[in-house]
Amino acid sequence: MTGGGDSSTRDPLDLLVEQFLRQRRTGAATDVAAFAAAHPEHADALRDLLPTLLALEDMKRDRESTGSGRRRASVPKLDRLGEFRIVGELGRGGMGVVFEAEQESLGRRVALKVLPQAGLLTGNQLERFRREAQIAAQLHHSNIVPVFGSGESDGYHWYAMQFIEGRSLDRWRDEQALTPPTGSAHWRERGRMVARLGQQAASALHYAHCLGTLHRDIKPANLLLEHDAETPPPKGEVRSTGTGLGDTRRSASASEDREATAASSRRTSEHLWVTDFGLAKALEGEGLTHTGDLLGTLQYMAPEQFAGNYDVRSEVYALGVTLYEMLTLRPAFAGSSRSQLMERIRTQRPDALRRSCPELPEDLVVVVEKAMARDPGDRYQDAEALARDLQAFLDDRPIEARRLSTARMVWRWCRRNRAMAALAASTFLAVVGAAITGWVAYGVAGVERSKAEVAAFAEGQQKQRAEANLAIALTAFGKMFDSLVGPDPALALEEDEDTGEQTVVVRTVVDPRHVELLKEMLAFYGQFAAENAGNQTLQLETARASRRIASIHARLGKPEDLDAAANACAEALARYATVTDRDVRREEAAVHVLIGQLKQRRLRPGEAVASFQKAIDLLAALPNAETKAVRRERAEVLLAAAQNLTPRGRGGDGGPRRGAIVSELGSTDGERERVRRGTELLQACVALVDTLLAEEPHNHEYIAMRARCHLLTARLSVRRSDGGRPRPEADRAQAEAERMRQARVGTDMLRQLVAQAPQQPTYAFEFVEALLETLPRPEGPGRSEPGPPGPGRERTRDPDQVATRRVLLHEAMEHAEALFALQPDLVEYRHLAARVGTEYGGTLRDAAAFVGGTEGAALLRQAESALLVAAARAAELVAAPPAAEPRFIELVCAVRRELGSLYLATDRRDEAVAQGNLVVDLLERQLETLATGPQGPVPSRFVRMFEQRQLIGFEDLVMRLQNGPLLSRVRALRHRLPRPEGGPPEDRPPGEPRRR
């Protein structure tokens, strides 16, 4: 370390302090008194300051070191305390000292826990200590150490309980470690013993839980193993109470211990006592529970405790970890520092029991591992369930945990980590496959066997089990399927403002990591459908398999997949037709909806509507068509159909389009027809939703549907026109006003819904999208689709409009951020957050233009932050190969352009140029991928994006930057674009936006 500059300018005390510290840090012996004496002129000040300094050093070290910084309680040796005659000290630690004592008035032996005298306990804590002692005194269970009472004598607070002859489980564990089990008989005996202890502890806990008392510090040291009354402890064996201190005095020699162990292993009636109920809670700091601080001993703490959650399942966990330790004789989790230990508990699994103790009975392994599952939902939900299963194990009955464990385990695994699911898939498929094979095989073999009438009862059971297994496996697999692929993708039809060309954006994007898994699922369902085609019983499952095949293909989304999806749909329909169950009609309708969506993606809205109509008719013809559930489904399909006919965007009102209209119904007549049909469907939907709402006005889902209807009405209102012909200005203004009105009603409904059902993220998602749609847009024709302002359209700087946008976007920002924080991995949430951030940043930049001065500068800084964050998120959207979705690329371009303009406005030209280069980098990379990828020719939308939307807006910036290298890069980029059918790209200098 470098020395400290010119000494004469320094506080002399500082120099001495530094010298002292340096000595200390190099490990030299440091003594405050001696050091002070050596510097008499500053002795007083040094004596004053150095202890503080040492304390700081200790704390710093303490923070890095392990968690064993136990402080000794300051209780001196005592001979008596009140009516207690102290016989001996059993142990001491942070909580106080435990004495063996005689309560003379009653002539009984007690374990007396004495708290330190120090004034560390506030009145409040003492009050709680007494209260907890009282509560503990009311627990009467054969496995809970009875508490006789508590009180205060000679300035000490004490707590008297029954004296237990025996030792705590941590001691027992240490003894066992001396004689590791050899051979499976020995392991089995150990396992049964631990199970017996666990069963007693769990039933004690359950009893206390039923009375509303949590132990809060379950660990080996608080579980006492009593010596059998008939087998007195060997001479010298320690009598111990549960002290939680772990270092009870002992004088027994190792050999005597071994004898004791051997004796105890012969017994089968060990008695276990749980001690120190609620004591941890009584002694915790007043503020700790509020601040979510951690209690108990770290090693046995459940992961959720680190988040401040604690309930009976946390105690199930602690007991599970304790049992694990008793079996393996080493802690489930260990770490060299507190933070490391916490991290391990939160994120890792202990070594599998099966590996540490391969000879342990299988069922016991399952029980203990279930008790200590990381996710509370995967554990036994109360101590009783754990006690029951341990008893079942001891009785050699089948345990509860085992029945569902395989399917549940895989399911949980998938839920927790979808990426992992890909790895799990093969395993899981094997499991499901085995279940099905078992079931089918049984069906065949069963015929033979039933002739022989062998064990009819057992067979019935076996058959049931096989069927149950199959059902569980298929359900679990179905769940995994749903979780991975989500509901059928919501489609958003978008219309290009300039050309009227429509594009379908599939909103639920398949994570590339999942593609492999989806393909595996595809193989599984394919095989399932093929093998069981002739099996009558499995007909329905086979139809469902076909439907899922279609669903998967629809998500994989390549052109050939869309064909395959359509085929699978047809197969599914054929199979459904053979099943007469009327509930199946609803699934059949879902297939028609899927077909409709497939047509929609091929931009055949007419055919799509026909398919939707089939689904609607099927549902309406059901005998239970008027039940709430079916009405709701009908309304959903109607809405989907209407949405299919109504792209986002306002293609109809913007005057003549330049491009040709390519879609099937894209002609002017088609447009009019489409609007008419959409309106019709929507009205039918509204009628249904209104009946639902009349019955259940507060049903969130119905309200959400009504809100969606309003939003769609808003979109339709500006389309309800005479197709492509320009409208009179007044007409347009009126339509726009109607649009805003409807959109606001819908948005307000969603806003309330979000407030009422904050746990439902989809509402928040829709709300933010709706907010974006109701944003006041710059004048002139514009897409209602939120996004960057279009080419050649510089943002208006109307102060009122900017202010409104700022308020709305602020609100949108909050919700979008919350969603993103909730599930940062979800592409749609990330996209939404980045979109809102881009708009928000841009609006703040606009706002800054009106205020100027320091306030303006502050706004610009805020704008920059928002944009930088949005840019980082948008960048991740396009980071993963292969070719990114166009809407993501557009978003990156938009946010970089905003940033560039902002930098330009604040005289940070270099940074602006850097943003420009980043955009060009991205476009080059994308072009490269598209040109070399298997997708074939560069999609025309991408070319147009270059040509019309992004580059031109971007070139405005590039032009203003006047940066030579960047200009030429942009120019080169454009020349690399494939020529669209309309001829070569116009060779105009960048920066001359196309005027129209």
Binding site: R10, D58, E284
Partner: protein
């Protein structure tokens, strides 16, 4: 090879020998590590490794050597700034818009983190009691302290910088830094003193 002083290495680096960056950075590694360790947002502990931050910072320093030569900041001050920027970027990346004003927040540890640091940890419940009381007191004392005093204390104590280095980092005179340090120690004394006694 003879052992050259930090100053000699710094001079060589400034005069154009790029190869000196690695050994020089290595000498400051411990101090930078302490800085990262201490100033990392608690939410990121476990997600970001301090070593990774340093690695990124080192790469970044390599790119910006010219800036080091252009302005005459001492090496430590310069490299600390780079490390700080790396942390800001990482905070942004990981915490997203929760840290929209990341630049302000990073490097000025929240007082909660800080008092937690001072208090260390105790595992026993009675330790927890003490800890909580102490934490509250320290929080009050830190809150009452002048911001630069507090920073001097942190730099000198937790990052183990010398007085000169601390003064350089804060851009204040050495004697001022020195006086502030002693003053800050005095302030803390009141409630840490009795703990220091074994």
């Amino acid at each position: 090879m003879t052992e050259r002083t930090d100053e000699a290495l710094e001079l060589e680096l400034r005069s154009g020998d790029d190869a000196v960056l690695a050994p020089l950075f290595q000498r400051y590694r411990e101090r930078l590590l302490r800085m990262v360790h201490f100033r990392l947002d608690p939410r990121l502990v476990g997600r970001i490794d301090a070593e990774d931050v340093l690695q990124d910072s080192f790469l970044e320093a390599g790119k910006r050597l010219q800036a080091f030569r252009d302005d005459q900041k001492p090496f430590l001050v310069w490299v600390r700034l780079i490390t700080q920027q790396t942390m800001i970027d990482l905070h942004r990346k990981h915490l997203g818009a929760k840290m929209r004003n990341a630049g302000r927040e990073v490097g000025a540890p929240a007082s909660g983190t800080m008092s937690g640091f001072f208090v260390g940890h105790f595992t026993s419940p009675s330790g927890a009691v003490m800890r909580e009381e102490l934490r509250q007191k320290i929080e009050q004392a830190l809150a009452a302290m002048d911001a630069i005093d507090r920073e001097v204390l942190l730099l000198r104590h937790f990052e183990e910088l010398s007085n000169k280095e601390a003064a350089d980092v804060l851009g204040i005179q050495e004697n001022a830094a020195s006086n502030r340090y002693v003053r800050a120690l005095g302030r803390l004394k009141g409630f840490l003193g009795d703990l220091g006694q074994p």
